[in-house]
């Protein structure tokens, strides 16, 4: 089944993106190509649907991804006809098309120059500012991208998406404390987001297992990771990612439980006791094996998990079983 055209296509698999962009010609044919704002034609053609413009936007992204530039241009032309040349979102989409078609670094520099020009005229143009940051990152200028993003967040501090991007940029530079700080800001803005809780847990785990971490810091990160994963499964029943992280963290803590010296008196970051960790580990194992079992049988009501995640959970469980046999 083709994925719905209404959702953002960024996270789709290549096959799904291909299916989506193959819908493009049919969609372009089925919707009228000219949009005029005169009242007479609005009367004749009926009310316009607001989803339609979202669909054009998503089609542009997925068509660019699959290399169907012609359809992308057609969608863009219709958006320009409807919203005008200087609409901020349309400007960003036009930039996106140019980025995708740019050959070599010179062309990219040209696009970047255009972005700078637009931002000189109006530096609160957030879509363009975001495109500029994405382009900088894509060109490998990570520190430039990070500082531009910090500037953007200075005047728009409630932008959860931007905080999340900042965290990702810091992570790619290996700056774990900064990445954790940025993702915590996302949690402040979206405290119920179970995937962000799991993400924070993963970041804490990565920071704890990075080479050259002091013992005290290691314990603090691990304790936080346990908390975050526990929170994510509290917010979402049968959350594979959360249970996976919980099992990973609790197993590791149990393994080095013997040699861990409990010297931190800091009660806020104190590790949970061994019995608690054992119970957490058992719970996570039980839930994960249930998820894996149901997904393997493809039971009704258990088909929402991605195959890669289920395979990873199965590998983790198998790893555990072989360790016990040894």
């Amino acid at each position: 089944m083709a994925p719905p055209i209404l959702h953002s296509p960024v996270q789709l698999s290549p096959a799904a993106a291909l299916a989506l962009s193959q819908q493009a010609p049919a969609f372009l044919r089925s919707s009228s190509s000219t949009v005029s704002s005169s009242p007479l034609s609005t009367l004749l053609s009926g009310p316009e649907k607001s989803e339609q413009w979202l669909q054009y936007e998503n089609l542009i992204v997925s068509c660019l991804r699959t290399g169907d530039d012609q359809a992308a241009h057609q969608c863009l032309r219709r958006l320009v006809a409807r919203f005008g040349d200087d609409n901020e979102r349309v400007q960003a989409l036009r930039g996106l098309v140019k980025e995708a078609e740019a050959q070599g670094n010179g062309a990219l520099e040209e696009v970047l120059k255009e972005y700078n020009q637009i931002l000189d005229e109006n530096d609160t143009n957030i879509p363009i500012a975001k495109r500029r940051i994405a382009l900088l990152r894509s060109m490998g200028r990570l520190s430039d991208a990070a500082s531009a993003l910090v500037q953007l967040l200075d005047f728009s501090p409630t932008d959860a998406e931007a905080w999340s991007e900042l965290s990702d940029i810091y992570l790619s530079q290996g700056l774990y404390p900064q990445a954790i700080y940025a993702i915590e800001e996302v949690l402040v803005l979206a405290p119920n987001a179970w995937n962000i809780h799991a993400r924070l847990g993963e970041l804490q785990y990565m920071a704890a297992t990075a080479p050259g971490v002091a013992n005290g810091l290691y314990q603090k990160y691990m304790a936080e990771a346990v908390k975050r994963f526990a929170r994510s499964v509290e917010l979402c029943d049968d959350y594979l990612r959360g249970y996976y992280g919980l099992k990973l963290v609790s197993k590791r803590l149990l393994n080095d439980g013997a040699k861990a010296t409990r010297q931190t008196d800091d009660s806020e970051f104190a590790l949970p006791g061994t019995s608690t960790l054992e119970r957490l580990n058992e719970l996570a194992t039980a839930r994960l094996s249930e998820i894996v079992r149901h997904s393997a049988a493809s039971d009704r009501g258990w088909r929402g998990y991605s195959e890669a995640e289920v395979a990873a959970a199965r590998a983790l469980l198998a790893d555990d079983a072989s360790a016990i046999e040894r």
Binding site: V10, L64, I133, N195, I196, L235, I291, R300, W302, G304
Partner: protein, 174 residues
């Protein structure tokens, strides 16, 4: 209170359906048919009750008119016969039952149950009785915070897609 009474069979039916998940798909279509039949039957009864009431009043007024010309003493205004009243009430309840049976499955109220349903069932969990995915279903609403569509690196995505296509072609060629 009426809704409570009417909703109780639904809860029974729903829990029954949940206990036998394989049969749910078939029972969904059967349920739509059942609810439509019940609603149509109720409407028929209601229409019949209305028609009877109208006929009854027409008859009454004629009789009153003839009685007035004959005896000139007015008879007391008669109310509707009790069977028409009962028919109206029962038909209304039958229509209500049909409509309630035809509603889409209720959504979980608790956050963690709802979130778990999204993760566990995907879009299958959010379909109406006919099996079409709800229009407002969007998966995990917070997934945009990780995919970040406004920061998409389109050149990287293009490259990855081209590689995927090449790999797929290689597989087919073998």
């Amino acid at each position: 209170m009426v809704i409570c009474i009417l909703a109780s069979p639904i809860i029974v039916i729903r829990s029954f359906g949940a206990s036998r998940p394989q049969a749910q798909e078939a029972s969904n279509t059967a349920m739509t048919l059942l609810s439509k039949t019940i609603t149509a039957f109720g409407s028929l009864l209601l229409a019949h009750a209305c028609y009877s009431a109208r006929e009854h009043t027409a008859l009454q007024s004629i009789r009153a008119a003839t009685a007035a010309t004959l005896t000139s003493s007015s008879t007391a205004a008669t109310s509707l016969p009790v069977d028409i009243i009962i028919e109206t009430i029962i038909s209304t309840f039958i229509i209500l039952l049909g409509l309630v049976l035809g509603t889409r499955p209720l959504r979980p109220l608790e956050w963690r149950v709802w979130a778990g349903k999204i993760e566990r069932e995907g879009e299958e969990g959010f379909t109406d009785n006919a099996g079409a995915v709800d229009k407002d279903y969007m998966g995990n609403p917070f997934s945009v915070l990780e995919s970040r569509p406004n920061f998409v690196d389109i050149r990287k995505q293009r490259k990855e897609f081209a590689e995927w296509v090449q790999k797929g072609d290689g597989k087919q060629g073998q």
